[in-house]
Amino acid sequence: MSQPQRRIYLDYQATTPVDPQVLDTMMPYLQGSFGNSASRNHAFGWEAEKAVDQARETLAAGIGAKAREIVFTSGATESNNLAILGAARMYAPKGKHLITCATEHKAILDPALFLENQGWDVTVLAVDEKGHISLEELVAAIREDTVLISIMHGNNEVGTLHDIAAIGAICRERGVLFHTDATQTLGKEEIDVNSMNIDLLSASAHKMYGPKGVGMLYVRRRAPRVRLEPIVHGGGHERGLRSGTMNVPGVVGMAEALRQCQVQREQEQARIGGLRDRLQELLTDALDYTQINGDVESRLACNLNISFAYVEGESMLMGMDGIAVSSGSACTSASLEPSYVLRALGVGDELAHSSIRFSLGRFTTLEEVEEAAACTISAVRRLREMSPLYEMAMEGVDLSKVQWSGH
């Protein structure tokens, strides 16, 4: 049943390949124009500095910001840490309360937990079964001492798109800084930091066909001026906010990657969304007892998170040899817990163990989607034949009423 030659990549929300054109723009800065952009006294440095300035302009323009508001980092994890910890340290005299939500990436939740251990109050908003926070709960959670609200734009596991314009409006009205992690959405969804009232925004290059190891943090400079305490010290690069030698080819690649995403954004997202819908249709037409996780009305075009009841995720992945996807099953991660995101949506642990995330991208073809669907369907059918739960369900046993021995 395995064809070792076949390799289909449907894990674009984990990372993307570098687009060939992006790589072309980066190459000169790895060799001939390899200068350090901080070298102010020779042409190598000037050349690199010019490239960085251009990249900064492009990336800023892509979100409606000014070049001076872009801080380059090593990736979205660092950007999120700088936003949360940097704002917390700077604004601690004003208060020690921050608000985030249960389905955020660990690069938000872990810094928040770190602050909590340092005596901060952290409100983690619950989400509904589609993955949305309640705006009323958000408003109610804001206190006198709230200094930052961090809500992601698009969720990495279930693709739910938060209404960040509405959240931004609330934050602005209440005078609280608003950070959004846009790692999954930059280049895919329209973002305008001014109309959406975003004060801080994190993004990464490698989720949008740029290289790994480079990201950015947008830091608003006017109305209000956001000030951050740096977390990396040593040289005063990036206006003192992020020391360290500039990754010149990285930022050049990131800028070109965003430029390309934006040139073709609507057509590309429509094409990918069409393929995703086709995949969903193929799977749900062929198989019963499936559940789409997330919000089918407001979801990233690339994302399909689906549970196949009565089969376990890791065994499904094994049966889908050569097809690269992710599972919410505990067995595929280092922890023994199934996905905390699915749990936050109220998906039962047994269905979380049975979930697969497909994420499509620029190079996904209809043939690949059809082959992946066929392969998934046959794996699920085969494993259901082997599943005691499927057998019991078919016999009419209510699995929720069985006394399991556990383990």
């Binding site: 049943m1 094994m318 642990d349 034949e385 082997m386 599943s387 005691p388 739960l389 057998e391 556990g406």
Partner: protein, 136 residues
């Protein structure tokens, strides 16, 4: 995670998938694990004159759980009931080269064997059939 060749073999060609009549007097059934933990194994034996003539399994779980239960049925067939008590999870770990994070799969398989044997022995000792889920 890389799987051993033996795990892959059992996953791709599972031995003895299926079900026996759980109400039959000569059949012992063990069901262990829980859906929310991501592993449920059902293991059944059919005994004739003290010897396990047939063994079947169905497993909801990862590849290592499937392989552990598939291997267990293979080892059970042809053994005496007494001999079957001697199967240990460490033997399964060794045979399948399970990594530490998958040892619980072998423990589950050993539990399923013990429960199936106990169920069979209960049926022999008592007239009324005993449910397999007594440990719950």
């Amino acid at each position: 995670m890389a799987y051993s060749d033996k795990v892959i073999d059992h996953y791709e060609n599972p031995r003895n998938v299926g079900s026996l009549d759980k109400d039959s007097q000569d059949v012992g059934t063990g069901i262990v694990g829980a859906p929310e933990c991501g592993d449920v194994m059902k293991l059944q034996i059919q005994v004739e004159e003290g010897v396990i003539k047939d063994a079947k399994f169905k497993t909801f779980g990862c590849g290592s759980a499937i392989a552990s239960s598939s291997l267990a049925t293979e080892w059970l067939k042809g053994r005496s009931v007494e001999d079957a008590q001697k199967i240990r999870n460490v033997d399964i770990v060794e045979e399948l080269a399970l990594p530490p994070v998958k040892i619980h799969c072998s423990v589950l398989a050993e539990d399923a064997i013990r429960q199936a044997l106990a169920d069979y022995q209960n049926k022999q000792g008592e007239t009324a059939p005993v449910a397999a889920k007594e440990e719950a």
